[in-house]
């Protein structure tokens, strides 16, 4: 598959901006993530792919602080933030565009952005700059967002996160509920976002879209990491196998480690499972 025009800077050494280690996360008694690790370097577009229920959103929410991991650590910009409250992470520079947009229904478009800007760090992004990025917003800024289309809402949600001037932007399932052409347009904004110095960690169900924009990817299956590497280094067959869970289409029951050949060298070791 072709790599996107946005290649990460060739130099990936140095400290990662986001360093997640051996994350184990539970939903009640259900284990959602089993020992996930990832490292995101500045300027990257890191994509997490996987089927429904793989744990992708859980991973992002845990990084944002909305879930507490049972085990593991999250290190952001050299500091351990595993125990930090979500709002503190936001002001430190981790902004998330949550799954389903989650705009404030009783607030207007502009008010949504204003809320995002309330605790903003200093940086290039302002409400005006967001209007430059999405010109249609300016004249509709006093409208309630509940009357807007899915794509428009998604743009507002992104704008709300950008306005805080984050260093890491977490995008959770941007394509959900959007027509492909809209989705492509939204993803087309990524270069401008990246050029302002923002690093992106995204979760995406649409594999081809993810592969188009990602500089690095990891595939999750039922809470385990099944593939990790750069798009240029993996084949379509590998991705498919990692996504569905076996060398054969149809997949196999969870719990058993995927059979050999699919695990990229950087994949974390499997822990014991139920």
């Amino acid at each position: 598959m072709s790599t996107s025009a946005n290649e990460a800077p060739a130099a990936q050494q140095g400290t990662p901006l986001l360093d997640v280690r051996d994350l184990i996360v539970h939903h009640g008694q259900l284990r959602a993530l089993s020992g996930i690790s990832l490292r995101v370097f500045p300027g990257e577009v890191y994509a997490i792919i996987g089927a429904n229920g793989a744990g992708k959103s859980t991973l992002l929410r845990t990084i944002a602080g909305l879930h507490h991991p049972t085990e593991g650590s999250i290190v952001y910009d050299g500091k351990d933030v595993t125990g930090l409250r979500p709002e503190k992470r936001a002001t430190a520079g981790i902004a998330m565009v949550p799954e389903g947009r989650r705009l404030f229904p009783s607030l207007t478009l502009e008010e949504n952005l204003q809320v995002g800007a309330t605790f903003a760090r200093s940086g290039p992004w302002t409400i005006e700059k967001v209007y430059d990025l999405f010109p249609w917003m300016k004249e509709r800024r006093r409208q309630k967002t509940s009357q807007m289309s899915g794509g428009e809402q998604q743009s507002v949600a992104i704008g709300r996160a950008l306005v805080a001037n984050p260093r890491v932007l977490l995008l959770d399932e941007l394509s959900l509920g959007l027509a492909p052409v809209i989705m492509r347009r939204i993803y087309g904004m990524l270069p401008q976002i990246l050029s302002s110095g923002v690093t992106v960690l995204l979760v995406e169900q649409d594999v081809s879209q993810a592969l188009r924009v990602a500089t690095h990817l990891q595939c999750l299956l039922e809470g385990h990491s099944t593939l990790e590497g750069r798009p240029a280094d993996v084949t379509a067959a590998q991705v498919e196998a990692a996504y569905f869970g076996s060398a054969h289409p149809g997949g196999q029951p969870p719990g058993d480690p995927p059979h050999g050949g699919l695990l990229a060298p950087h994949a974390p070791s499997e822990g014991s499972e139920a």
Binding site: E87, P105, E111, V115, F119
Partner: protein, 290 residues
């Protein structure tokens, strides 16, 4: 003429009831907290006012901002500590805690102040007098309180719609998690909202103490019930609805009193029950909604 007088009186009383109700409505709207101690806190405010005047000997009007400030601070602290812990543990616990608070306050007041009722001396002859318009006797105090209610509602509306914290309060009320992701500490925002609600509660208590006397049980006997009735009648989620509800309640009561003096309270209850049956908008959701 008595009827017109009754209706006017009812409308003006509606202002007082709106004052009772808007704090209750605000706290529910923002943090989904039904504060069963709401009325008792208004009584506490009245007692604080009485105490302040008795101790510091300042003119009545000066005591008002002091009481409001004290109650606002109390509201913030209570919200961050007691209420937040209760909210974290679920709606059942919240009700138990606020109910417990109500009983503790009532009996605490009973213990320290006895069951005697007290009033707040207004001290100004202007306020305690009345004037006449075309044959109607209208007390200045009632007009002032109504005006106060309108001012409070206007201020609240302005604050919520145009200020930074007003926006935050609305955002947190809409979607707590999304607000956290935007950097807002929702516990602090809740605290601000509670402080705001307690300001109105303070004013409600003082206003009530000026119109009539308060006793330890007035909180639940009167204030909470009327506040709730006003919210029911006016519709949840609307600040101005509490004014409408208050007016309807007040008018119903006065009309009832015109028919027979002992029907005053009963008439109010009947209207409340009728609305409950016919149009309980906004009060009815699936009970497991958190």
């Amino acid at each position: 003429m008595g009827w017109v007088n009754a209706i006017i009186q009812g409308i003006l009383t509606g202002g007082l009831y709106a004052l009772f109700a808007c704090g209750l409505s605000l706290m529910f709207g923002v943090m989904k907290l039904v504060n069963l101690a709401h009325g008792d806190l208004a009584v506490v405010a009245a007692y604080i006012g009485i105490g302040v005047i008795a101790v510091i000997h300042i003119p009545f009007l000066w005591s008002v901002p002091i009481v409001v400030a004290i109650m606002a601070a109390l509201g913030y602290v209570l919200q961050r500590s007691l209420f937040q812990s209760a909210i974290n543990r679920g709606e059942l616990t919240t009700l138990i805690v606020t109910f417990g608070l109500s009983i503790v306050i009532e009996n605490g007041l009973l213990q320290f102040f006895t069951a005697n009722s007290r009033g707040i001396g207004t001290g100004s002859s202007l306020i305690s007098s009345s004037f006449s318009i075309g044959g109607l006797q209208i007390a200045w105090l009632d007009v002032v309180i109504f005006a106060l209610a309108v001012v409070v509602l206007l201020s609240l509306q302005y604050f919520l719609s145009s200020s930074k914290y007003g926006r935050l309060i609305r955002a947190v009320a809409d979607d707590r998690e999304a607000a956290q992701l935007a950097g807002a500490d929702y516990r602090h925002v809740f605290g601000i909202a509670a402080a705001l609600a307690f300001c109105t509660v303070a004013l409600a208590g003082i206003a009530y103490g000026m119109t009539t006397v308060v006793s330890p049980t007035t909180g639940t006997d009167t204030i909470l019930l009327f506040a709730f009735a006003a919210v029911v009648i006016g519709g949840l989620g609307s600040l101005w609805g509490t004014l409408v509800g208050g007016i309807v309640l007040g008018v119903a009561q006065q009309i009832g009193a015109q028919i027979n003096i002992s029907y005053e309270l009963l008439a109010g209850y009947i209207v409340f029950l009728a609305v409950l049956v016919i149009r309980p908008q906004g009060l009815t959701t699936r009970r497991s909604q958190s």
